[in-house]
């Protein structure tokens, strides 16, 4: 029944720990890899065996596919689980793993390539009846570009074909402004990219980010595990995710999930994967991209479906199929995840470093903490700033929210600044509480979510507690050295 005898986990941090935990539970020997900077990291100790990777740059070691494959072969691992990030969506690595006679716990390299290409994946989606944002390219439309763009409807987004970073991008709300803005965009595109071509796309305002978890066996057999709402983002970086999406009409949920299954099935997708959509206020949804790996936010889906996605990934990779039928998948309750990052929200979210001097983890019913940190441990700029994830489950959203708040307050990661306080303020926001979410949330309510002035009872108590932690203050307060004792204070 065991899917493999031994699996190498080509990752670090919380996701390596999370994958290793499932391997242990399934009785599969686990192999960690690590750069010297991580030699004391939890994933190394958690695994049955560990292989040190050479690399001048720490992150480079985890991206060194040849070295990782060699390590897997040398230690006798049958498969490699890539986690997320690093090599997880590297088609060349997937091919190399297979060429080495090992199993890549992920999709076929060709599918990784297809979904990794924005234009090709979008065309593929459209060809299989998955809605994509209406658009028209100058190349296709030629002389009729302005008229065809106007036909999409307003507001419109004009983008440089070769572009990025907002250059050559214009939002057009009125038909009479279209021609002029296309001209402006072309001028900018030409100056910045040396390529004046632009295209027009329907602008979805205040969109929600809804994504569907799918499982495919590689033969076109695909099921979905419903959706996740990931609209709480900052600069396209997800911060809080939940499942199921709040206030999503049942019919719309069905259509979105069906579209995701259609896409993955058409691609003969193998592995767990995620199809991302943007959902407009008008209920129209459009394909964004497909992530061909386990996602950071997969725990919320696990919490509401009681499935272990890593176990399903391993089962599929071992050729034993998905192991579950669509009609077996039931949503129970609600789950919300917060990403705990080493950063300073009150100072422009700049990444923070330091040494974790004190770590207190939350526990209790419905609380899950996926971490890869210990105290003392240095948090360096070498890796991603995400330290851990706190996930709370409840019978309903309100219960999950209450547990999440308690869990965040019961979590202490000290010695390095984190966004814990910020997360609590977001979760406590009245609009978040009613679940009216869109990707502009954090920006729109930035003032509400800002740190409070520190002159209230809690701040006073904190200052007093800090003083009590200082030997200097204790000396003054309890040591009673003369002549200080003569100034104020009690006399007996």
């Amino acid at each position: 029944m065991a899917f493999f005898n031994k699996v190498l986990v080509a990752n670090r941090g919380e996701i390596a720990c999370r994958v290793i935990r499932t391997l242990r539970r399934l009785g599969i020997a686990s192999v960690a890899v690590y750069h010297d900077e991580d030699r004391k990291a939890p994933h190394v100790g958690l695994a049955d065996e560990a292989v040190r990777l050479e690399g001048k740059v720490p992150s480079g070691a985890y991206l060194d596919g040849a070295q990782i494959i060699a390590a897997a072969k040398a230690i006798g691992a049958a498969a490699i689980h890539p986690g997320y990030g690093f090599l997880s969506e590297n088609a060349g690595f997937a091919e190399a793993v297979a060429a080495a006679g090992l199993i890549f716990v992920g999709p076929h390299a060709e599918v990784i390539r297809l979904m990794g290409d924005k234009i090709r994946s979008r065309d593929f989606a459209a060809a299989h009846g998955v809605p994509v944002a209406p658009s028209v390219t100058e190349d296709d439309a030629g002389e009729d570009f302005v008229a065809k763009a106007a036909a999409i409807g307003f507001p419109l987004l004009i983008k440089a074909s070769a572009g990025g970073g907002g250059k050559g991008m214009k939002i057009v709300r009125k038909p009479e402004e279209l021609a002029e803005n296309i001209g402006l965009a072309k001028g900018e595109a030409g100056r910045y990219f040396g390529d004046p071509r632009v295209f027009a796309e329907r602008l979805v305002e205040q969109p929600r980010h809804i994504e569907v978890q799918v499982l495919g066996d590689g033969t076109g057999n695909v099921i979905h595990l419903y959706e996740r709402e990931c609209s709480i983002q900052r600069r396209y970086q997800k911060i809080i995710e939940e499942a199921p999406a709040p206030n999503l009409p049942a019919g719309l949920r069905e259509r979105i999930c069906a579209a995701a299954v259609r896409l993955a099935s058409a691609a003969q997708y193998r592995n767990a994967g995620t199809v991302e959509f943007i959902l407009g206020a008008d209920g129209e949804f459009y394909f964004l991209e497909m992530n061909t790996r386990l996602q950071v936010e997969h725990p919320v889906t696990e919490m509401i479906t009681s499935l272990d996605l890593v176990e399903v990934q391993l089962r599929i990779a071992a050729g034993q199929g998905i192991g579950h039928a669509q009609e077996d998948i039931r949503i129970t309750g609600h789950a919300i995840e917060c990403r705990i990052c080493a950063e300073e929200p009150d100072h422009g979210f700049r990444p923070a470093t330091g040494r974790i001097g004190l770590l207190a983890l939350p526990s209790g019913e419905g609380i899950r903490f996926d971490g890869g940190i210990v105290a003392p441990q240095a948090v360096t700029p070498a890796f991603d700033s995400m330290l851990a994830k706190l996930i709370a489950w409840g019978e309903d959203r309100d219960t999950a929210l209450a547990r999440l708040e308690r869990g965040l307050a019961a979590t202490a990661v000290m010695g390095v600044p984190t966004n814990l306080d910020y997360l609590l303020r977001v979760v406590g926001h009245p609009v978040f509480r009613v679940g009216t979410l869109d990707t502009g949330f954090l920006e729109r309510f930035a003032a509400d979510i800002a740190a409070p002035d520190g002159d209230d009872e809690t701040a006073i108590a904190a200052a007093l507690a800090a003083a009590l932690g200082d030997p200097l203050f204790r000396d003054l307060a309890f040591g009673v050295p003369e002549p200080h004792a003569s100034i104020g204070g009690w006399r007996n």
């Binding site: 001097g357 004190l358 207190a360 708040e405 965040l408 307050a409 202490a412 000290m414 010695g415 600044p417 984190t418 814990l420 306080d421 609590l424 520190g454 002159d455 009872e457 809690t458 701040a459 006073i460 108590a461 904190a462 200052a463 007093l464 507690a465 800090a466 003083a467 009590l468 932690g469 200082d470 200097l472 203050f473 000396d475 003054l476 307060a477 309890f478 009673v480 002549p483 200080h484 003569s486 100034i487 104020g488 204070g489 009690w490 006399r491 007996n492």
Partner: protein, 167 residues
């Protein structure tokens, strides 16, 4: 005597006014009664006035971090800044820093006092505090009778310059 610590680039002054039966500390112009209930391996519990607080505390060489009620506070330690108020207290008027009741006079008009001598005991926030002479001098006037109440900033005692040294 006062102790200073920094938060968000601002100095916080903590003035220890009483030690027993509980610490009396003036912070942000208010006297607080402070009881330390527990302190074990980074966890602490304190009572401030009538409210209990428990959280985590991390003390490093230059900082003290507090996590309390879902909020994080970082304080910078300021080594060696503790000082007595006597240095600053050269004034002739001893004022109340918080409203309260005058419990007892320890001096009479005309009493010659040294720096730090007990002048009066007051009670604020259920805490009795003895006010000490900010400098040497002669008690010129006692402004508040025993048992009477006063507002914050009220003058309690006036001091005249000390009598000229003989010889």
């Amino acid at each position: 005597m006062s102790y200073e610590i920094r938060r968000d680039k601002a100095d916080l002054h903590l003035d220890i006014r009483a030690r027993r039966p509980a610490l009396g500390v003036v912070l942000a112009e208010r006297l607080h009664r402070l009881d330390e209930l527990a302190a074990v391996e980074g966890r602490f519990a304190i009572r401030v006035d009538d409210r209990e607080f428990s959280g985590w505390r991390l003390v490093t060489s230059d900082r003290i971090e507090i996590r309390l009620e879902g909020r994080s506070f970082v304080f910078e330690r300021r080594e060696g800044v503790a000082r007595t108020d006597a240095a600053a207290g050269s004034g002739d008027e001893v004022r109340a820093e918080m409203p309260g009741t005058l419990v007892a006079h320890h001096v009479e008009i005309g009493t010659e006092v040294a720096l730090g001598a007990r002048l009066v005991t007051i009670e604020s926030m259920k805490l009795q505090v003895t006010i000490a002479a900010p400098r040497a001098g002669v008690v010129a006037r006692l402004h508040v009778a025993e048992g009477a109440t006063f507002e914050r900033g009220a003058v309690l005692v006036s001091l005249a310059p000390p009598a000229a040294q003989e010889g």
